[in-house]
């Protein structure tokens, strides 16, 4: 167990280090000089050169990478060196604040978005998947399958726009203001407003995921229902609903949890389109805005944040599957 965990952690750390290097090289192939993008309009060549010099943009790539890893771009009076490594994802070129602070300030939005959506789509997919498996081949199964195909194929930007049009704009035309069009209210401030502001983005994200998860639950259920122990349970006279919800579903959930962890990680890394449509200022918006502004330390930081979320979600999946596994409980 300890060896297993140690190996996982070593693997995760080495993965993160290499992701960092990959992200660094992606910013190196930029077609615009970040110093030009950071300088005020009509800045003189001297001013641009000064910015480039201050950010060490003129030095060879290996020195830049070293500075990035070792101390982050220089800021007067900022702590430096390996001892201060954790906060040193570097400093934003543009805002002159630590990248970690910038990212952490956006995490509540993204986390709320991701967790709410995952709860909605998991509940609905399990419900629909079990129903479809129980009535395999019926018109209900076909209807749900059809819906799954729609969910799988509809682009988030289309569903997002339509959802915000009908559930915000059209309703407000009738004087119904159930859902606001955009914005975010922290959970700690007002839980009701928090949920109200996030309801439409949750719906948009959940809609995109239900299709694949419902199909997965259905396929997994059908496979489990064919196994011997289910037949034994039925032969023993276990009520049919318990066969489905107690015996079969428990075992059928493993692949669902695994994929759920991966999809959660994707949304944590930035549901850029959903955040854009509903005006949520999350990690995804931060990533794309900083990429457009040439704020490269933030770009690298958000990429690493996405990778860290991925690693954490994989860990979580690993722990949950082990904990659920009856063999490990003895």
């Amino acid at each position: 167990m300890i060896r297993h965990t140690g190996g996982l952690i070593f693997r995760a750390l080495s993965t993160l280090l290499i992701v960092l290097v990959i992200a660094f090289f992606i910013t190196r192939i930029a077609y615009r000089n970040p110093a030009v993008m950071l300088a005020p309009r009509n800045a003189s060549q001297q001013a641009i050169d000064a910015i480039a010099h201050a950010l060490r943009l003129n030095e060879p790539w290996y020195l830049q990478l070293w500075y990035y890893l070792y101390r982050g771009p220089d800021i007067q009076g900022a702590p430096m060196g390996i001892a201060h490594w954790p906060p040193a994802l570097g400093y934003s070129f543009r805002k002159q604040t630590p990248v970690t602070d910038l990212i952490l300030s956006k995490v509540p939005v993204t986390l709320s978005l991701a967790l709410g959506a995952v709860v909605i789509w998991m509940t609905l997919s399990i419900l629909l998947g079990v129903i479809a498996a129980r009535r395999q081949g019926s018109w209900l199964d076909r209807l749900i399958s059809g819906f799954a195909y729609v969910s799988l194929s509809v682009p988030t930007f289309l569903s997002g726009i339509l959802i915000s049009y009908f559930l915000f704009f059209q309703l407000s035309n009738y004087g119904i203001f159930w859902f606001p069009s955009s914005g975010y209210v922290p959970l700690t401030e007002n839980p009701f407003e928090w949920a109200r502001h996030l309801a439409l983005p949750w719906l948009t994200l959940a809609l995109a995921e239900i299709g694949i998860f419902q199909q997965l639950v259905r396929a997994s259920m059908l496979e489990i229902l064919g196994e011997d122990y289910i037949r034994t349970a039925r032969a023993k006279g276990v009520p049919e609903w318990r066969v489905y919800y107690d015996h079969a579903l428990k075992a059928a959930l493993n692949p669902v949890i695994t994929l759920g962890g991966l999809e959660l990680a994707v949304i944590m890394g930035g549901a850029i389109v959903t955040e854009t449509i509903f005006g949520l200022d999350g990690v995804g918006r931060l990533a794309i805005n900083s990429a457009l502004e040439g704020d490269f330390p933030v770009v690298i930081g958000t990429t690493i944040f996405a990778a860290v979320s991925f690693v954490l979600c994989t860990f979580a999946v690993d722990i949950i599957t082990r904990w659920r596994d009856p063999a490990s409980q003895s």
Partner: protein
């Protein structure tokens, strides 16, 4: 005709998907004949609603014909999707086949390499790459291909692993064939069918990613793609809903038909595991 009817009865979804797909392909191929000239020029009064005479999908705020935009946009969108899929399949197959065939440290290194690209969410990575490097057709294609190949590599590796120790491969090895010839001539043909299925499903994902990029305003403005039409129409959604809804529906229909065709191919080519849900 009888063949079509019987296969339609067995796989109504796949056949319907194939028909939609053919229609969209024809529209893309003949866009220049159907709507000659620059689709981006003004042809009529602005903001004509859909089903206006001569302008099936209406016009935008500058009086540009949306139907022409959709037809020409299909060319760009499908071209990008095909190019990305071919690149990703070629690269992914090469990596996966080598990893699976040689095993050992080669396999370890190749799979670790693949893992890094799967650690970063693909849409985020593409968007960041496109935002940082100049958004040209080539860079968009490369950026999406970079995030798409790992799944093919993993699939091919798994399939190759199940084949390397089979008798026909051993026989070929004993016969003194080079590794390259065994992989190319004996193993890859047997891996083809799952790769075809994965490629058709991947094309759908690529279209979604490409239109997402254009929707965010990062696409290349020299080429009108569906995502670009949708993105520009979004700001005026409350005035003329069709400007973003119709390109959105075009994307949706294409992706839907690709998913249907992909699952149909899966049933047809891999009957063994076809009851295990569409997407692997």
């Amino acid at each position: 005709m009888a063949l079509l009817r019987s296969s339609f009865l067995r796989h109504p979804g796949a056949v319907a998907g194939a028909l939609i797909l053919i229609a969209i392909l024809l529209m893309a191929i003949f866009a220049g004949i159907l709507f000659p000239g620059d689709p981006w020029r003004m042809v009529a009064r602005p903001n004509l609603p859909p089903f206006s005479p001569g302008h099936l999908f209406g016009t935008d705020m500058l009086g540009r014909d949306l139907a022409a935009g959709i037809a020409h946009g299909a060319q760009v969108t499908l071209l990008i999707a095909l190019a990305v899929t071919m690149l990703a399949v070629a690269f992914g197959t090469a990596i996966g086949a080598v990893a699976g065939y040689f095993g050992g440290w080669v396999d370890d290194v190749a799979m670790r390499f693949t893992e890094f690209f799967q650690t970063i969410p693909s849409f985020l990575l593409t968007v960041v790459i496109v935002a940082i490097i100049a958004p040209s057709l080539t860079s968009i294609i490369l950026a999406i291909a970079i995030v798409s190949w790992p799944q093919i590599a993993r699939l091919v590796r798994a399939e190759v692993l199940s084949l390397v120790n089979q008798d026909f491969v051993r026989a070929a090895r004993v016969g003194g064939l080079s590794s390259a010839r065994i992989i190319w001539g004996h193993i890859l043909p047997n891996v083809l069918s799952p790769v075809i299925v994965a490629a058709s499903l991947m094309t759908a994902t690529v279209i979604l990613i490409e239109s997402g990029i254009s929707f965010l305003g990062l696409g290349n403005r020299d080429f009108v793609s569906w995502g670009y039409l949708l993105g520009t129409g979004r700001t005026a959604f409350r005035v003329n809903w069709w400007l973003s809804t119709i390109p959105g529906l075009a994307i949706f229909l294409t992706v839907l038909s690709l998913n249907l065709v992909g699952d149909g191919l899966n049933h047809w080519l891999n009957p063994r595991n076809s009851n295990r849900g569409g997407r692997a």
